[in-house]
């Protein structure tokens, strides 16, 4: 009887596969060939005929190698669009108000598909959105610190803005240093 493990190893081309997995497949197929060979022998076939019968069951080694390679590849994870579609189908089945939600999801899926189809437009859109959001956040932070939040002093409510009348009759918030000192002394 042929050494089936060696036989399969010589014929099967399993690239890009873990060694333990490769070994398992080789041993399993060798077992399958042995079973077929023994069955043929039990049916009174000659050794050559039994060998040919076992080989016929495999058919095309090249095709088998390709099919096994494909089967062993990691299963593709669903894309975002596929996941939304699945969810959409599920909620559509619930009836009542749910089809409206499903329609929104359908629009979302359409939007995603269009964005994927136009990468240039998508890049510009994302960049503009990022810039807009960033700018808004920065401005809000500034307004919040300067206007909305109380100033970081002990009694912010007692703060006053002092203006002096200039010679031309206008108002000014800048005053000479001696006047500042005088004002400060008066406040004590």
């Amino acid at each position: 009887m042929p050494d089936w493990i060696r036989y399969v190893r010589e014929h099967l081309r399993l690239a890009d596969m873990r060694d333990d997995r490769k070994e398992k497949i080789i041993r399993e197929l060798a077992g399958q060939m042995e079973e077929m060979y023994l069955e043929a022998r039990a049916a009174q076939l000659t050794e050559d005929e039994a060998l040919r019968q076992a080989e016929r069951q495999i058919g095309d080694w090249e095709l088998l190698s390709v099919e096994l390679g494909c089967a062993e590849r990691p299963t593709q994870t669903a894309t975002a669009g596929q996941r939304i579609q699945r969810f959409e189908e599920e909620i559509r089945l619930k009836g009542k108000g749910w089809p409206m939600v499903a329609d929104t999801l359908q629009d979302l899926r359409y939007g995603l598909r269009m964005l994927r189809k136009n990468p240039g437009f998508t890049t510009v859109t994302i960049f503009s959105l990022a810039l807009g959001i960033g700018l808004n956040s920065t401005i809000f932070c500034l307004v919040d610190r300067i206007i909305l939040q109380p100033l970081p002093v002990d009694h912010p409510a007692e703060l006053a803005l002092i203006k002096i009348r200039t010679e031309k009759g206008g108002l000014s918030t800048s005053l000479p240093y001696p006047e500042y000192l005088e004002l400060r002394n008066q406040c004590k």
């Binding site: 042995e34 058919g59 088998l64 096994l68 089967a71 062993e72």
Partner: protein, 110 residues
Amino acid sequence: MFSPELKKGSIELLTLSLLRDRPRHGYEIGKLMELGSGGRLRFTVSALYPTLYRMEKKEWIKGRWVEKEGQRRRYYYRLMPKGKAVLFEQRRNWQDYVAAINQILGPSHA
């Protein structure tokens, strides 16, 4: 003989169905398909084993080596809970599909 496409579309369902009652090895699964169909359904190794490995990867079935006395070591596959659910779903779909086709074809006058 049935077309390869038709056979390809049913191999998962048939395999899961044969594993419903007890674990079986690849050769046995192929043999049972052939015997159960009166020799009309014969799957090549190139069709059967990649399907088994694909289903094992999806965790529909799980295999392990078993050595029985007086026999060589064989890799037995058993049905997993995920596979049971798929079997239920695929069987229902298949029955619905066949019923729909029969409805269109109408009664045979041959």
